[in-house]
Subunit: 284 residues, 2 copies
């Protein structure tokens, strides 16, 4: 299953037209779902973000009911894996102008879980600060769109397998996120994460963690983060839907935080978290 | 020929793998060549920009000799048209990290000329100022990369066929370019265009015009342009390789410049311009 099993507009194929607007312009969105026991975790949260992305890009005509059905059907094929959805504005002519009432393209791919060492959640990870700065574009901030050259270039900055994630600042020196994860700091018992008004991806695991922290009475604040903030943090972790929470043990040249009690508490709570909306959809 | 005739890695096909990094991340570059009498105009300028883009994206392994040969062979199939090249980092795994020594993907498509009214060069065009602001990203500025959501969203702002181009400002209010063209102003006999250090595409026709203006002893300056600058300009035009030079007769709500003598002089000179390097390559 490593090379993936693909559906394009419901048809088993691993190709897409070269005129598709994903190929031509990166004109679309994606979602990366974690599949667990044949079910997609946090399905409704993903769909909500996808809808927000469609609205932002004026990407109309998506049949969300059919899409969810396809996602759930494909997920049943595996016990544990990653399901990636790409939703593009569809086949295009040679020009930026979106064609009205265009049929979107739905690409679904089922993949094996990435080969991360199984003990990263307990050992913690090493990270670095990337040189590349995220640009500020409020129109695209928060959504998971297909224009990912900044992430590609940031990830190309290091080749050392001992470093698991790179942390990104924006052009105003604010610390925003990892190349493939969101970033949280803990200081004086408070959970801090970057607001994502100008850049960054509003991660599903980030939203779960913020909801979970409420139930644990952990104060959470979104705002501006700096290198000084991470240097002074008591605990640091990154998260995404596939890896869950990774405690950060090292930020090269900046700090070497311990894996602290709040990170452990959040990891445990997220593990046992019952995403009510998600389960509701599955049972309906 | 309207739907295009395509070659993917030298093979006649109109599909590409869904795992290609163009589809997944917009991880690549493109060039849009004007074909005239079976030959590509300004071939060497395009190739030079493409090489610069490859360097910026660390996109290695392109066989430029073979690529140029393919481009010229395909161009011979038509008397007049547009040839679009997409060069991606190739087939990828599910992750931002570029795989070393990956084979790039070369997509070539031959298309009919766009259906612009033939008299736009003599009548001039109407333009508008777009709401969307270009973000500042020096790492991607100037090159013609595949992350084009800003252009798609800017072009989606209007649906009036009487408006031929939208002009874009960056997040610092500087006037940069059109959605698919570069912008020039003329004031007191001087040719002005935006510098492209932070955003924008370094257009081939822009570089031709700047070279041609030297031979005509027209002073040229690149720098910051504002809405005030365009409001005060004596002449305004936009340009790209397919349309050539389009005089701007109207910038909605800002100004209604005349088609002036320097624009006419440049249009004539560009028309007759003998791109020596280009011809040298063809004769060799």
């Amino acid at each position: 299953m490593n090379s993936g099993s693909f559906l394009v507009n419901g048809k088993a194929t691993d190709t897409v037209g070269v005129s598709d607007r994903a190929v031509q312009f990166g004109d679309g969105l994606f979602e990366t779902f974690r599949v667990h026991q044949g079910r997609v975790r946090y399905l409704q949260r993903h769909i909500t973000r996808l809808r927000a992305g469609c609205k932002r890009l004026h990407l109309d005509g998506v049949d969300f009911a059919s899409l969810q059905k396809q996602i759930c059907t494909l997920a049943r094929q595996t016990n544990a894996g990653v399901l990636k959805l790409i939703l593009s504005r569809g086949n295009g002519s040679r020009g930026y102008r979106p064609v009205p009432r265009q049929e979107p393209t739905v690409i679904l791919g089922l993949h094996a879980l990435p080969g991360y060492a199984a003990d990263l959640q307990s050992t913690g990870i090493r990270t670095r600060i990337c040189k590349l700065r995220l640009s500020l574009q409020p129109v695209l901030a928060g959504i998971k769109h297909l224009n990912r050259l900044e992430q590609v270039l940031a990830r190309a900055e290091w080749d050392d397998d001992a470093i698991h994630e790179g942390l990104l600042r924006d052009s105003r020196d604010r610390l925003v996120e990892g190349t493939m994860s969101n970033l949280f700091l803990i200081r004086d018992g408070e959970l801090l994460t970057a607001d994502l008004q100008y850049c960054g991806v509003s991660g599903i695991m980030r939203s779960v963690i913020m909801d979970v922290s409420k139930t644990l009475d952990i104060d959470t604040r979104t705002g501006s983060l700096s290198l000084d903030d991470i240097a002074c943090a008591d605990e640091v972790f990154v998260c995404n839907c596939v890896a869950g929470i990774w405690p950060v043990r090292q930020v090269d040249g900046i700090c070497e935080p311990a894996i602290g009690p709040l990170t452990r508490q959040l990891m445990q709570a997220v593990e046992g978290w019952d995403d009510a909306e998600n389960d509701h959809w599955y049972s309906s």
